[in-house]
Symmetry: D2
Subunit: 334 residues, 4 copies
Amino acid sequence: MTVRIAVIGAGIMGADHARIVAEDLPGACLQVVCDMDGARARGVAETLGAVDTATDPGAVIARDDVDAVIVASPDATHADLSISCIRAGKPVMCEKPLSASSDDCLRVMEAEQASGTRLVQVGFMRRFDQSYVEMKAALDEGILGRALMMHNFHRNVATPNADFTGAMAITNSAPHEFDVARHVLGAEYASIWAAQPTRSDDRVAPVVMVLRTTGGQLVNIEINNNAAYGYDVRGELVGEAGSVSMAPVLHSRLDSALSNSSRYDADWRGRYAEAYRRQNRAFLRFVETGRFPDIAASAWDGYAAALVAETGVKALATGNTEPVRMIDRPAFYA
Amino acid sequence: MTVRIAVIGAGIMGADHARIVAEDLPGACLQVVCDMDGARARGVAETLGAVDTATDPGAVIARDDVDAVIVASPDATHADLSISCIRAGKPVMCEKPLSASSDDCLRVMEAEQASGTRLVQVGFMRRFDQSYVEMKAALDEGILGRALMMHNFHRNVATPNADFTGAMAITNSAPHEFDVARHVLGAEYASIWAAQPTRSDDRVAPVVMVLRTTGGQLVNIEINNNAAYGYDVRGELVGEAGSVSMAPVLHSRLDSALSNSSRYDADWRGRYAEAYRRQNRAFLRFVETGRFPDIAASAWDGYAAALVAETGVKALATGNTEPVRMIDRPAFYA
Amino acid sequence: MTVRIAVIGAGIMGADHARIVAEDLPGACLQVVCDMDGARARGVAETLGAVDTATDPGAVIARDDVDAVIVASPDATHADLSISCIRAGKPVMCEKPLSASSDDCLRVMEAEQASGTRLVQVGFMRRFDQSYVEMKAALDEGILGRALMMHNFHRNVATPNADFTGAMAITNSAPHEFDVARHVLGAEYASIWAAQPTRSDDRVAPVVMVLRTTGGQLVNIEINNNAAYGYDVRGELVGEAGSVSMAPVLHSRLDSALSNSSRYDADWRGRYAEAYRRQNRAFLRFVETGRFPDIAASAWDGYAAALVAETGVKALATGNTEPVRMIDRPAFYA
Amino acid sequence: MTVRIAVIGAGIMGADHARIVAEDLPGACLQVVCDMDGARARGVAETLGAVDTATDPGAVIARDDVDAVIVASPDATHADLSISCIRAGKPVMCEKPLSASSDDCLRVMEAEQASGTRLVQVGFMRRFDQSYVEMKAALDEGILGRALMMHNFHRNVATPNADFTGAMAITNSAPHEFDVARHVLGAEYASIWAAQPTRSDDRVAPVVMVLRTTGGQLVNIEINNNAAYGYDVRGELVGEAGSVSMAPVLHSRLDSALSNSSRYDADWRGRYAEAYRRQNRAFLRFVETGRFPDIAASAWDGYAAALVAETGVKALATGNTEPVRMIDRPAFYA
């Protein structure tokens, strides 16, 4: 019984999701590739052998031959498309962010709760990355003692465009760190403080944030979107008895010209290919069984990430430690 | 058009291949699981949702609803089953070794050549491992200059049984090293020398081998089947201008109790899971297109590994450098 | 012409300085070991073959057969003993801190300026550590582009006593980080923010600080005095074009019991033995030549460290970003 | 009571020894720098503040104001100068090799035994290197179980001249590996086998050797004098229960241009600076106390290294495993 999946959005992320469905999800079928730009949809669909293409996401969600939906369209459409899926009673995996607006995330949560069924998975794929899995396992096994801090550094080679701002670093890049630290620590955020160093040019400088959780832990984040040297994500979880750090995933090292070296990727795709694959497989199991995957991100997690990002933008502007004022967690998401 | 694959042999290796076909090969279908022990076949088949089970490999190979075969039965049956597949005109991926006997390998080659078509892929999955891919790429890109040597160390925790011998280390474990070094260097072996240190107990001691290729390169191999500390494979390719080394694949490191540590696996499965997956995908493409995969091992490669293993056993006995007397490479395998 | 050095204080640090003078400073002579506890002074002096012992530091400083002084007595005495050395016209290397009070540091600076001669070296030995030397060199050579940030993590196994506080972490441990980051970046501090996570016991929790320099750089410091797992210092200097990180200094790695591991020291002595040696050699050259060592810390640096520590204690209490209000750098220390 | 040391030979090695005596050996005095080339002797002596210079080594050894001698003159003079020191009753540290001829080494041993006193230390400084100290300690502590093998790789950037041969690699470079493996394993060599790959140019190719000890252990050595990429020494000691590997001594790592890299030195001096310092301090203690240093190399060790090198040259020529025929160890060297 094949699960027929529609992918909405045929940009970089959408095409990647479509490829995973087509090539890496036995039991799934790439039923529809949908994009406002019909030619782009057809390009992806042809390469991957999709059954059909479309340009109207609402119609796609309604189709009888679509069992589940992956939303990878522009961010501003995520919440409404997720709500459409909920109303159609179809499981949806929505790329991050669920919305840039925490209020919109609350709307998704309300719709999902009203439906009475868990239907929304949010694409925080880091939770499926083996490094974080091992960090969380070390904590759960008690090797580290109680968790005290996380250090999470995220570095891109360069921003896609020159008018990228510190606020965008917080709303676009940092949510991965916000989410995975919450996930590993099993805690919510209570406050956030943020600052930026000064660059010599007009590109966006790194943003350094220190968050406090409701459990009293600190999360120290650096988002460096113009790190120049490579795509590099680091993480460390510090406990009272020990510490566990992400190791760079390498397959070889080169000795040459008085140097021993390993390569950085220029973007995230190689680093997280397996995490995306695992995440999408978890989504497929979710569709098949109706049981929400243990470690996947829910609409609640999407809301938490959006709210802390909003608060972080404010903290960066004020220079003060700003409280993160979350609603209580609905029992539905317990 | 789904490719229907039969897996012959439902032991550890066969079950693993069956799992890859069932779960990691979109476009393939696990049609038959065959084992002399019908209960074992049924156990694997049920877990993975195979279409059918069987106990007679010859009959399986002949079935109309089987398009291709993976042979993972006991080593002694590999050559004859491969020949049966050839005669049935069906592509076969035969687990290593193609045969422990180089003469038997020649028989497979003769059958394959007589068929006029490439049908036999041999399961030297190391060629698909990212570390060797990067080592070979560094060589091909010219970063290393001309290749001079390889160092290949293979270490298991312990031999499965106490009567494992040095000769078995050469015929059972070393072929992976023989093959991947040939593959990376693009050369054949001209001679082999071998020795063993003395252990304090009656378990098999490591075997150290130094091989010379027809291109004048040296290949330095350690097979240590009772290394105790972990499953560990190392490799280095030394060229005239530089060197490239396999890096251990890690995802985290632990700080605890005055120690910074990473874990070894107890066996090979985690280390080579992705290589097996890639290999089997290459086999599927081979079945679909009829084009033998560029980097996969052929019957010729199976023959080369068997012959050098036979010669290595002799070298270990004599203590002398023994010539490896290969037949000329048939044009069919060029 | 041997330089006759008196070491004041025969505790752990004083004994270590005495040992370096006696065994690792050709051209220097361990003339006097002075301690309030005469027996302790004699114990150290005998082991190392010192010429004499004493219990009165003022008298020692005045002795004709003492050319230079190393002050390693209790912290509260550092400033006054340094001033005594200045008044006696004798070069002094004062262990950190010059004083816990920035006002006292200003008094030392005034005395030194009044003397018209550079006489005071402060024992921030990290500046001589090869890792920081390489980090600074990478910056100076332009490989990194303009400096943006430093991450400095300092971890001890455990505090010496249970009533160690966060404020003490800032005044006792952090000054090494404050100083070496100022030194590497070549900048002063403009502000500091600080926070602590919550521990499950009553031991002091880590302190996380983010400082801004007058050059707009951020310095991110973790002082973790109860890290449990080992003595571990980490550092990273992030520039606009690249980044340079401290590497742990290792000599071997062990494979054993499914683990690859290296050892942490339980305290700082092994890690910084060479830095202390280099620092004391620089002090000897200073005594011999009268020329203040390029990279050594001066009374000005001692003042800067004390002032930022004082401000950090305030920041930890208020939870706000607190301005660091330094006096202008006197031309004397340019 | 200062020990007055004469250094014979003012080339690279001699100048380095003279510098260590002058700057790093409190308790020692650089009394004479002697070189056939008087100007060269004076150059080194002036830089380091030596008391005197000379051109006649025999006369230097006889001087009343010389307590001990370091021989760093051309290799062919080592044995005779060591014998002169023995006859003068003066402790000598002779740079490696004691002689290229095992017979000459026997002559030194005979002279030393005839003197009735241990007087000769041979400059195999690797024994004092922290990596080997830790490898030997791991073995002695029982962590590794019984030793089975060592892998020792030695790589230089390039040979000093183009007519360097494989035989020279064995006699000039390999003795460090021969000696340190004997030292770590605590065993003598029983046989040696050697081979070389083919290079594309006329520079000397690496030499690969496999030696067997009298304890049944294997020692696998690669001497690669034209490794091009850097000065790099690797070592691993494999035991029945685990393995310990030399770690490269690094102080920082650079992230830049899609690469994470560390630097190799172009020659051995940085890598072994501390080992030379420790070795020469051990020699000074030896002179002061008359007690031969526990881990230092003796004339017996010099003989062993020379004999195995001679046998290795033969093995490389014959292609056979050649027996190493040592005399019995005299009780004098027990």
